[in-house]
Symmetry: C2
Subunit: 264 residues, 2 copies
């Protein structure tokens, strides 16, 4: 199970402030606490700053790499921003994200190939976003075919089947869970990833819904997730489901987390 720490995102007010004020200590602390909590990648996003995104993302790359040995997840909707910061990155990063949209493909793929990047591929194209399990599987298939045909090894591809707010589509969680299972079965070797925040939008006790969905998704075969690993209850649920899913050896991580007081 790979954990991508989501906290360094400019959509959060505290992060946007720290970026604007060049508050290195604040950003470094955000990187450190996620590292300590077990993040395998640290997501960095400066997407709030149109026109300045590349500059700010470059600064984040530099600062976060000073704070942690954990590799980065470069998070941008602008392929030029990702392309610009890639040469600054020490370790093979994760790219967040690519879709079937032509512009993304043509810009990103040439620079990604040969870099051992992991790539998050969203089940959407320019025209459409996959809603039903069969649409998600179909778009996943197109993504995998296009990416592998271009030379990207299948085990570097992380398909995100996408999940939408239950408040407007009560079937969206179930559809995404079914898609995780069918994508894993249909395309052996491919990985799956999912963010959690969308699903609970507009409902109360969002973190309860988010962590419950994570448990369900891991049971269906999810390989990676974009979360805040410092959320205590989410962390406890994660340790418990990895134990139940037999991904924890002889329960050593679960018991260590308990001894450190992280399960309550």
């Amino acid at each position: 199970m790979l954990i991508v720490g989501e906290r360094i995102n400019s959509s959060r007010k505290s992060i946007a402030r720290a970026i604007l004020e060049k508050d290195k200590a604040f950003i470094k602390n955000e990187a450190t606490i996620q590292t300590v909590a077990g993040a395998d990648f640290i997501d960095i996003n400066a997407g709030q700053f149109a026109g300045k995104e590349t500059e700010y993302l470059s600064w984040l790359v530099e600062i976060v790499q000073e704070a942690t040995h954990v590799p980065l997840c470069l998070d941008s909707a602008d392929p030029e921003a990702i392309k610009a910061v890639l040469p600054l990155v020490d370790k093979p990063p994760m790219i967040n994200s690519i879709t079937l949209e032509r512009r993304l493909f043509d810009t990103l793929l040439p620079v990604i190939l040969g870099q051992k990047c992991k790539v998050i591929a969203l089940c959407q194209s320019g025209r459409r976003v996959a809603q039903s399990p069969s649409e998600k599987l179909e778009l996943a298939g197109e993504l995998i075919e296009n990416l592998t045909r271009s030379g990207l090894p299948i085990d570097q591809i992380f398909i995100d089947p996408l999940v939408f707010p239950l408040a407007t589509d009560t079937g969206s969680g179930k559809a995404t869970l079914a898609a995780i299972s069918s994508i894993k079965t249909g395309y052996p070797g491919v990985q799956t990833i999912c963010g959690l925040t969308n699903i609970s939008f507009g409902l109360p006790e969002r973190r309860l819904i988010n962590r419950t969905f994570l448990v369900s998704a891991i049971s269906m075969g999810l390989d990676a997730t974009i979360i805040d690993p410092t959320d205590k209850q989410l962390f406890a649920a994660l340790k418990a489901v990895l134990l139940i899913d037999d991904q924890d050896g002889f329960a050593q991580n679960y018991i260590a987390a308990f001894r450190q007081g992280h399960l309550t």
Copy 2:
């Protein structure tokens, strides 16, 4: 999703005391709080009292039926005890439980048939207990074949694939989850049920493991569970997974539980 409330079990000291002292008020309160928390069946068990089990189980039937309209789940390893108390029961009960063991079958089936009882059928025979997913599926198949051939409609059968302590078999949770899915696929119309307490035996923070396993199991298709519905965090996780699994209409139960302060 059917909830069987597990609290009135003589293995709990407070219940054993109440039975011995004929403390009607205590037992009635246990029935009431589980009813209010949403139990669909109230399990009653007097199995601690060898020689007196039938007498005490009869008393429990009478007292619990005075307290609640919710039907009973008659819980005994002794088929004669179940047979003896069945005539006292107002509404079609659930029977907990039957196995492939000949003695159980021959004693219980004749009295169960024609009573519209729901029957919990454990994936074990006299000789063996199913460990792997394929063994669980095989024993489930034998149970279903024997029960339906005897005349029990398939939708009254609740297969319990059984789960064993992760502390001694780290693969047991995953095996049970896989079995739930394959039993549902292999035998359309049959129901599945599972208790939670076994899985966490010998590990810390047992209730965290129990409720996480419940979420996973419901995502795999579990139809019923034997739990303490008054456990607040378990209840919250249950409401959240039913929402995610699209078993909550337009989230009305989830939102009602939130308004009543039951999700935190």
